[in-house]
Symmetry: C5
Amino acid sequence: MEIIAFGEHLFYKQSQPNAEEIKTLLEGDHKFWLNVTETKDSALLQELSEVFDIHSMALNDIKEKRQRPKIEEYNHFILIVVQMLYSKNHGLDIESEQVSIILGKNYVITFQETPFDIFDQIRVRLENPHGRMRKLGTDYFAYALIDAIVDEYYLLLENITDRIEILEDSIISQDRKVRLSEIYHQRKYIQQIKKVIWPTRELLSIWRKLENPLIKKRTSPFINDVYEQTVEIIENLEMQRESITTLVEIFMTDISLKQNEVMKTLTIIATIFIPLTFLAGVYGMNFEFMPELSWKYGYWLTWLVFIGISAIMVFYFKRKKWF
Amino acid sequence: MEIIAFGEHLFYKQSQPNAEEIKTLLEGDHKFWLNVTETKDSALLQELSEVFDIHSMALNDIKEKRQRPKIEEYNHFILIVVQMLYSKNHGLDIESEQVSIILGKNYVITFQETPFDIFDQIRVRLENPHGRMRKLGTDYFAYALIDAIVDEYYLLLENITDRIEILEDSIISQDRKVRLSEIYHQRKYIQQIKKVIWPTRELLSIWRKLENPLIKKRTSPFINDVYEQTVEIIENLEMQRESITTLVEIFMTDISLKQNEVMKTLTIIATIFIPLTFLAGVYGMNFEFMPELSWKYGYWLTWLVFIGISAIMVFYFKRKKWF
Amino acid sequence: MEIIAFGEHLFYKQSQPNAEEIKTLLEGDHKFWLNVTETKDSALLQELSEVFDIHSMALNDIKEKRQRPKIEEYNHFILIVVQMLYSKNHGLDIESEQVSIILGKNYVITFQETPFDIFDQIRVRLENPHGRMRKLGTDYFAYALIDAIVDEYYLLLENITDRIEILEDSIISQDRKVRLSEIYHQRKYIQQIKKVIWPTRELLSIWRKLENPLIKKRTSPFINDVYEQTVEIIENLEMQRESITTLVEIFMTDISLKQNEVMKTLTIIATIFIPLTFLAGVYGMNFEFMPELSWKYGYWLTWLVFIGISAIMVFYFKRKKWF
Amino acid sequence: MEIIAFGEHLFYKQSQPNAEEIKTLLEGDHKFWLNVTETKDSALLQELSEVFDIHSMALNDIKEKRQRPKIEEYNHFILIVVQMLYSKNHGLDIESEQVSIILGKNYVITFQETPFDIFDQIRVRLENPHGRMRKLGTDYFAYALIDAIVDEYYLLLENITDRIEILEDSIISQDRKVRLSEIYHQRKYIQQIKKVIWPTRELLSIWRKLENPLIKKRTSPFINDVYEQTVEIIENLEMQRESITTLVEIFMTDISLKQNEVMKTLTIIATIFIPLTFLAGVYGMNFEFMPELSWKYGYWLTWLVFIGISAIMVFYFKRKKWF
Amino acid sequence: MEIIAFGEHLFYKQSQPNAEEIKTLLEGDHKFWLNVTETKDSALLQELSEVFDIHSMALNDIKEKRQRPKIEEYNHFILIVVQMLYSKNHGLDIESEQVSIILGKNYVITFQETPFDIFDQIRVRLENPHGRMRKLGTDYFAYALIDAIVDEYYLLLENITDRIEILEDSIISQDRKVRLSEIYHQRKYIQQIKKVIWPTRELLSIWRKLENPLIKKRTSPFINDVYEQTVEIIENLEMQRESITTLVEIFMTDISLKQNEVMKTLTIIATIFIPLTFLAGVYGMNFEFMPELSWKYGYWLTWLVFIGISAIMVFYFKRKKWF
């Protein structure tokens, strides 16, 4: 737990503040940011909920993990629940972490399980005395948090786009072996991001239309901007999903084409040589009375027949455009 | 049939109440819950419909089974019809049971065919004198019933998610034999739950907007919460449905790939040995005049030809990347 | 043509009434139902259109067959066109018959081509002096007609559901031979019913919102009920359609799996015996100088080679998990 | 260019009217129809645009071909652009021709490239002094033109429905050879008609709601009627499109089934005879020491083995239900 | 950077104007167009943003590349961001270039990276003293720019349509070899254009409804026209996308049909000759006691059997309609 009080001319940071200190700030004029990382500590959450008068439904939302992103108006604050997404194991897994934001008159409280880098960036930006964050209200601060989280989605999107391009190259060039499971995983990632970004987009859309004294008009172009970013991400995910569908289709068609080629090879060889082998077998029979066997040119005639049959077959396959 | 009268300081339970007792309660100040399990007893239903002045259309809805979940306003009560879903035979079948709820000014009547565990939970919660259920109105009680029913859907969803993950592992690892019927059944279950949850979501959406003196403002955040749970379940079902589609596709592609491999093996072996067998057959012919047969190195030359043809074939297949 | 005048204390039936009789009834106080089966008799229709002052557009709609179900308000009546669906040839064909209903202040006129059983039921219900039909207005009567028609759709739906379940069993158990045309026909039936029920649902949705003195408030719960029945039928048809899609997919996958098995059998047998046959062919050649032929254990050595090659092949296939 | 002035008691026709004559009519009381077929004659169009005060944007729409059907209100007239569709080369091609209609207070101007039959019908109907066309206003006349055009779409729809039914019979009966290109062309036609009919439906939907002094209330049931015709055509096209999809699916499944059968035949014959041929080959070898060869019943024993192996194979295939 | 001041009687062009000159124009009465190509020159953009008082969010949108097309109202100007699309490498790649347009009271500023031909056309049209561009306001000028950009999309659409038609011919005629990657690329291009044109359509839809003093009523028919063009392009893209889907399907079916034919050929030849070869092998065996070998007509009888078996097989295949 860390508290940062800030204003146009103020920047004050403190770790592990006690309830009294928070109350003093709450009743003061300064804006402050309370970042809570101990979301499993029920006693602490209970204490905070009393200090800030947090409704029990809101507290439940903060405690429960993997909630659908949403925005909810309460009497004297707005609760925003979003999901932080980041890739783990070199892009092989997507992990999500819930971030709950309470936006009050002169405070923003964030609840998170583990400290992220992006919150460090926010801290750095807060230290800059000329930044917008110091001048504008708490709603701008909440926007900045969500903006940072949505920016992370772009990284995941890029990751997926890159991998699909590699898959595309592999399939079209027919060079490398394509692992089907790879395609399946990319599809799953797209699904996972979509599951989070759709309600986030919805949340921002609601925010845009919110008539609440906590939301100033000044921040609306910023919210519009993040909103459009979510729309763009969704459109891109949709495009990638379609690309995958097309790739699978091409992959399937390609397998069929190759199978066709394999079968043609077998058929050409087999249909030429099987009749010939039969004929050779005939003259390998040991009947006592087989007049051809004693013909002088029997053997050469047989070869003529062999060549003749082959030629007819080749001509037939040529006309069928099999090779 | 069981009746429970309750209030902030009251908890009173009675089995098989008669019409007189119910009427006394109805005209009294206390809230009460009447749970009817004898929904096939037409006479009883008729009697109740007279006591509570239930419209004939509402009575029909209660009697008929497997109705589409819905909410309907009547003069002095609200009728809610929902479907309880639970899995039977170790998750191999999904059964549904209709629960009709009549929400009146100071009473809630529930109609069900068989006693469920979840109703026991409600009973336990009612016994707690400090619970919300005792303090808040009948609309909160109706909410609690629906919330309990929707919670059961989560169990089914988890069951399906688990089974699909097993299917996924089987297909991607190619280890175990995948039963197509299993995929088919999971799809059916998703369909069955969707068929119930879509109208339930609709019902809750209507409830949210209902302007009815029986619905107090206080309960609206709770209704919002169940509503969002239904939305989440629907999204998850949709995701699972997509997963299945992808899995079937991968399964099909995998079959094609294996078929391809089988065909290649056959083609390679057959195209190499069929011509050779033909040649061996030729020199197995019994013509009297076959000059090669008496050549000194005829046999060894033939082997050279055998090896040469094989080598050319292998080289050809290598270039085609068949192995 | 048959006319039935009815009221709370009246039930009067007459076949082939003439224009004068109809006019007298029309100007009287009693409600009456005029059922016209001679829809091809233009002269009669013309006469009726003059008696009831039917707009020429409405008359056209009545005359033309296979119209899209619709509801249209005219000055002094409402025209409802619906389609009666029933199965013929033991469920192998779906036939449709148009029923046009004109709902006036104190009369309902129905136009149909052939007499149906369901109209007999209506007649029977009318004879009951305590039935709702006798007490409520002409709008309730029109509702009852449509309700009877929609009930028939349920029969068709059940028929389809049964047949699809049989198909399902056949495909999953792989026992019986599945006829593709059967799947195709079930799909066609679903399409046919949907084509009729969608506009019927629309029609009822319009009726619900109609502000017309001919429609009393009292009948609105009844209309709501039929409307919901149509929604339910549509949902069920959609589910059946999805089931068919899944079944076809499973059927296709099953064919592929079987093909795979067939190919493996062929490949295993062929790749084992083709090389062996070649070898046998080699020692069947008649070259004069083939040293192996005179070896004492040549024959047994060859058998050793035969067995060795087979063993290697079998081992290879085992490792590939082909059997 | 042809002008027809008409009224309840008037019918007057003139070819190639000059500007003066048109102006006189324009300022007169009579309704008139000006049919322009010289849409490539820019000078003429310019002249007309001055006489009727046509906005340059409207003139552009008239000149340009293959426009999206639309309706646009201008100061003193309404511009309607529709597409006439007709089949050419015995239903093998669908051609479209643009018809622009300008609906003014007492005039209707139509612009078309080539004279159609349907415009002759209109002319004939105009000659009938008792027809509605003579009595009602110019908006009814515009309706009649569009109605005639939409009626032509029905012909195309029937054409497609017929051909798809033939395809259906061919595929299900497996009698005739199905040409894939035929399926492809039917799909294209459906697309082409849909591309024209969707905006036409939209146009009529706008017309229905148009509040413009040029549109009288009296014509609204007629417009409703054409509108519903377009809806019906769209629904039918959709059904046909679905039928084609199902047919292609059945066709594909059928190919797979046949392939399966072919492969089974091959596999059965090959797996039975290949091992036998090997065995025959073994005893065709010329080793000097092959004890079996001199057994008295060696030959008959071999036949026993042949028959034994075949019987085992046949039994195996029977159990696998391959035939 | 180039500035063109224009009015009904004015046309004045200047390269690289300085801030003072721009300010003078800005405060003057004349309309002017400032075309900025140095969008990477931050200092210049900063200077311009001060001269024209451009909001920092708008400046960001101008600087960032590949933005989603959009329209945004600011205090004293409207920002429009669109994407110019053109094909490169003979239609093998689609490149996009962002064009940002600032529409002010008496000025239009365009920001682009590279000079396009279409802007030269605009310049030429501006030089024409009788053109609409000189007479109408800056909103008409902005419309003309977007119209020119949308016109370019048509070229791309035509390009795609042509290529798909070639693909279609190749697939249906089965003449040329179809490259799957070609199909894939056409799909990608369609996706790319759709990604740009959907938001452009949205943008124009917003523009149509915009109530802003900068937008005069006079230009609304023009905006309507571009809007409809975008709708038409979208519809055409959708049609092309569907065509591709159908083509791929036909392609797949065609492969299956060919495979079927190949397999039939193999099966016919193999099933006829494999049993015969076996029989020939039997009589090639060297058993000492094979009575048939010494029959006088043994050889000819064997040929009879050969021909008999073949005839039966051919008859069987004929009946199965395999050839």
